[in-house]
């Protein structure tokens, strides 16, 4: 196999110097892969993603052990702004749109670190609108007034504006109707195929995540419990019962 785009080795994350949110997580993402992080509430999925993007620091968290490398370079304590410029972007859990900014302004913020010219910026916006035509019709609406699905599209579109190679996507399905969730996962699939973007995505909805992912890690209380190819994990009966729960019975 090719060299990994992202590699975590024995990561430990502490919040407030005492709360051990992630105990020991190692994982690998290869270029153009979709890798899923599964697990119950509080398993440490979001913390793992924020450790990679180094946003844990903004929440008084810290990577205390282990190493994170991206494109074969150590990035364990790199400034998030620098990571964005290197093509590593996170889409936060709960979407986090800028509610008072219009949809288009939200998208523009995604390209701020790149310092694009007006023409380049317009080209990027046009690119996002081909993936999310619905956002174009809502471009002058304040993001706070758009639907949950549209906000998720804004959040992903905003990340795409930075022309990333690797997207950390936290619970894209959260609170959304099934057909919207599917629409969003189809776009993720398309991005991977057309632009070669890699994804590490945290999901509670194991069924849909395993349907689109190549590989998956199941976390339990800050550790990797099981990992394997997505199609193998979705066949695993023990897993269906203990971790993936009811979500699995609706699996396609």
């Amino acid at each position: 196999m090719s060299t990994p785009i992202l590699e975590l080795t024995h990561i430990e994350v502490l919040y407030n110097q005492v709360i051990l949110a992630v105990k020991d997580i190692s994982l690998t993402v290869y270029p153009q892969q979709i890798v899923a992080l599964l697990g119950a509430n509080g398993a440490g999925k979001s913390t793992t993603l924020k450790a990679i993007s180094n946003l844990v620091r903004a929440e008084r968290g810290e990577v205390t052990k282990g190493q994170i490398s991206y494109k074969s370079q150590l990035i364990t304590h790199t400034d998030p702004a620098k990571l964005v410029r290197q093509g590593l972007v996170q889409v936060l859990e709960g979407r986090h749109c800028f509610g008072h900014l219009t949809v288009e302004e939200n998208l523009k913020t995604g390209a701020l670190p790149l310092k694009l010219t007006k023409a380049q910026l317009d080209a990027q916006l046009a690119r996002i609108y081909t993936y999310f035509p619905r956002l174009k019709t809502r471009r002058f609406t304040q993001a706070g007034y758009t639907s949950g699905g549209e906000q998720q599209m804004v959040a992903i579109g905003r990340a795409l504006m930075a022309q990333p190679q690797m997207i950390l996507l936290d619970e894209p399905s959260m609170g959304l109707a099934p057909q919207i969730v599917e629409e969003i996962f189809e776009i993720i699939q398309q991005l991977r195929l057309q632009e070669g973007t890699s994804f590490l995505l945290a999901e509670q909805n194991a069924a849909i995540a395993l349907h689109y992912a190549d590989y998956a890690y199941v976390l339990e209380t800050g550790k990797v419990n099981v990992h394997g190819k997505a199609e193998q994990l979705s066949q695993n009966p023990e897993l269906q019962a203990s971790y993936l729960g009811a979500a699995f019975s609706v699996a396609a």
């Binding site: 929440e59 998030p80 964005v84 996170q90 800028f98 913020t109 701020l112 670190p113």
Partner: protein
Amino acid sequence: MNFFFEVLVGGLLAGVMYSLVAIGFVLIYKASGVFNFAQGAMVLFAALTFVSLLERGVPFWLCFLMTLAVMIVLALGIERWVLAPLANRSPITLFMATLGLSYVIEGLAQLLWGAQVHGLELGIKDEPFIIGGIFLSQFDLFAAGIALSLVIILSIFFNKTQIGLSLRAVADDTLAALAVGIRLPKVWVIVWSVAGFVGLVAGLLWGARVGVQFSLSLIVLKALPVLIIGGFTSIEGAIVGGLIVGASEKLAEVYLGSVIGGGIENWFPYVLALGFLLIRPAGLFGEQAIERV
């Protein structure tokens, strides 16, 4: 009736001066969640620097630019030695830090420029003139004009530039701003510099009216009721709040002063603000309740 309008308009125009100070607060509060008690000291520092340069024969426009540069250096220093070390600390810690900061800035001002009172002449005669039978102060009108231009400049800056976009993003959602790669320290420096610029304008207008002296930093206490009434997160709120405070304190002084005794002007805004706290804690234009300190 004419007399009533005269008092009202006079009060409104004076209120514009409060708004100017309050706008500086709102900028910093929105972008960094810091209730900046040192805004008054910044107003004083800017005015004192300006007037001291002017007295040394530096041309007016150059004084303005030089003072602006000094305020930017001050913002850089504050980011480096106050905000960065205290990032992620509680709002009360940051408030205490700005309290200390206000004394440091005042001390610095005294060290650099001494403690005497300076007169400041902006070349605007403070003669009253008459519109529609109402006496108006020329200086107040001038101040209102300046305030209006300032608000227009700020609104262009915030809405039409990339830096303005990143400032608004940070004000809306700090974590998301970090996630898209906006550098908070840079935004803080810019926003404190802009607040320094607003402080400079406020300092010149106030200084021209009451003289440049250390009590200038106390206008921070006048801005507090303005903020409570208008809300801490809105520039519109700061303007409307300033106008309400200005108009109501003058009307109270004139119409209630004979009944309860003079000096109402000094405490009336606080009573009004207290009323607002009970009825509308977020202020007229505020988005959310803030930590009351």
